[in-house]
Each structure stands twice: as C-alpha cells, then as structure tokens.
Symmetry: C2
C-alpha cells in the first residue's frame, strides 16, 4: 500500500510504504516489526566498496578468494546502508522522524556474500518522552538482518528522536 | 606517495596512499593518525540518501528547510561511509586487514551540511594479540570527524582484526 497522506505533499513519497507507524506513541516496547528483505549483487557490492571501503575482500573477487573470507563480501557499511533503507521504508515515521544521535553495539557477526537474502526486522526496546522537550519522545530500536540460512549478519541498537502525536 | 609494494600485485592499489601502517605491530595505543579531510556536496548528499536513507531532511531541500535541522543534512550513514574511505586510505593496513566485527558508540553529535569540510582522525585506543589465533591481533580505534568550525560531527570506536608481521 502506498502512503498517500496529504500532509506529505511537501516531498516525494513515491515508494514509501504505509507501515502505520507515524508518531512516537506508535512505538511500543517489545513489538517486533518485519522490515522486508534485501539482496546485494556482486556488482553492487563492488560499486559501493570501490567508493567507500576499497579493501581487497570487498572490491576484488580474485584477491578476495585468497583472503580472510574466502570470497568477496559486502562492506559492513554497505549492509548497514541497505538495512537503513528497509528501516526507512518499513519502520521509521516519515513525518515525525527528527533524526538519530547514534547507534550502539553495531555488529557484523557473519559476512554478507553476493546473492544472499537478508531479512530485516526491528524491535522496539525502549520508548520514553523527552524530559526537556515536550514535543518529542526517544526510542531505542534493536535492528537486525538475518541471511537465508538463519545467520545474523548485522545487529545494532539505534536511538531516535520522534515527534509525539500532535494532539497528545 | 603511492603504495607500490610488489606483494600487492593481486589487486588495484591505484590511489592507495602509503601511510606506513602495515601490520598489527604498527598500531601503538595512544597514537593519533591524521586521515585527511572530506567534503560532501548537496548533490552527493541527496544521491546517497535517495538510495539508502530517503528521509525528507536528507533528500528534499525545501522540506528540509522547514524540518528539524533547518536545512538539508547528510545521512549519518553517508558521513560514516566517507569517513570509512578516509580510514581505508590513511589508516587501515592494506594487506593485513582481516575485517571488523563491529563498532561501538557511533555518534552523530552535529549535522553535516552541504559543503562542510570534515577532518578525520583515528586514535589507537587498544592493541592486543589474539589469545586463540597467533597470526593476528585486535585493535580498537576511536575515529572522529570534526567540521570547519571545530564541531565533532561523527565519532565511534571500531574493533579490527589485523595480521601480525610475518616474521613476528
């Protein structure tokens, strides 16, 4: 379902799915949100890493075959970036998001190889109103990506600032 | 100076600078390494965010002007990615790097706006030999990016696995 709220007319919402999470109050600790799945091709892995992380095991299939992972693997930052896209499309509130001050315990426990399918999910671990700014709340979200054989390839805990519902 | 070590013939080293850090032993706790500077244009900010983090304050200058940052700002993941490139070029050991299991306390304390110049530096905070694998060591590095007015815009602590010197 495509998000078609009139209040979003200020920017291009094509492709933004209506996940139903709009304001701080919608993020309930303990709830788990499916954020879809994503896959990286070898060409995408090499393209991203050539620009941002050109270590041999990310950009050169021949060198990578003899390297620590026995083959080409995605930059952890590439995996993180595509998981972020899933979170934007399936989890973060399109209007109420005020950004993030940071992420804790970001982990890449297993390599991501070309063609792997990563399922992404987000768990609300904490939600509290701001003590100093009454218009917002602070959430902590554990996000994770699991590959097609059930291995976790990415995990982390993000802090986010979100507007409270206008009539709250 | 261009890295021209014969042992690197297996992959393209064009553009890789010789920062003199080659193996685990070269990472001495307490030392600070200048990793150069980097800048993001508005077009680059929008291009990265359109693919990976299409929140209005990263992709739409008009919406961003009325948003929480009062203007367009880079995705924190974009800042992290370009800082990673500086670390690859100026700090990580091109042959001895065995990848990273993760990053702790990743922070974006201030926004990055188009045209900001970010200076990147890396501080070795810990270096120890692996107890289980004698061919490698484990380093912890605090990396940070500071803008042209002295504000820290990115900070984090990375763990890395590195080969020890072959004759060590």
């Amino acid at each position: 379902m495509i998000f078609a709220c009139g209040r979003l007319s200020g920017w291009d919402t094509s492709g933004v799915t209506d996940h139903g999470l709009r304001y701080f109050e919608d993020y309930v600790p303990g709830t788990i949100h499916d954020c879809g799945s994503v896959s990286l091709s070898q060409a995408e892995i090499i393209s991203f890493a050539s620009q941002y992380d050109p270590q041999p095991f990310h950009v050169d299939p021949v060198a990578a075959a003899a390297g620590p992972f026995g083959g080409l693997v995605a930059s952890g930052w590439h995996t993180t970036a595509v998981v972020m896209r899933q979170l934007v499309d399936h989890y973060l509130p399109v209007e109420a998001s005020l950004g993030s001050p940071g992420v804790d315990e970001l982990r890449w426990p297993a390599p991501v190889r070309p063609g792997d399918t990563l399922r992404v999910r987000a768990t609300v671990v904490e939600a509290r109103r701001s003590a100093s700014k009454p218009d917002r709340g602070i959430t902590k979200t554990m996000f994770e990506a699991v590959n097609q054989v059930g291995r976790t390839v990415l995990q982390g805990t993000a802090t986010n600032f979100l507007l409270v519902r206008p009539d709250a």
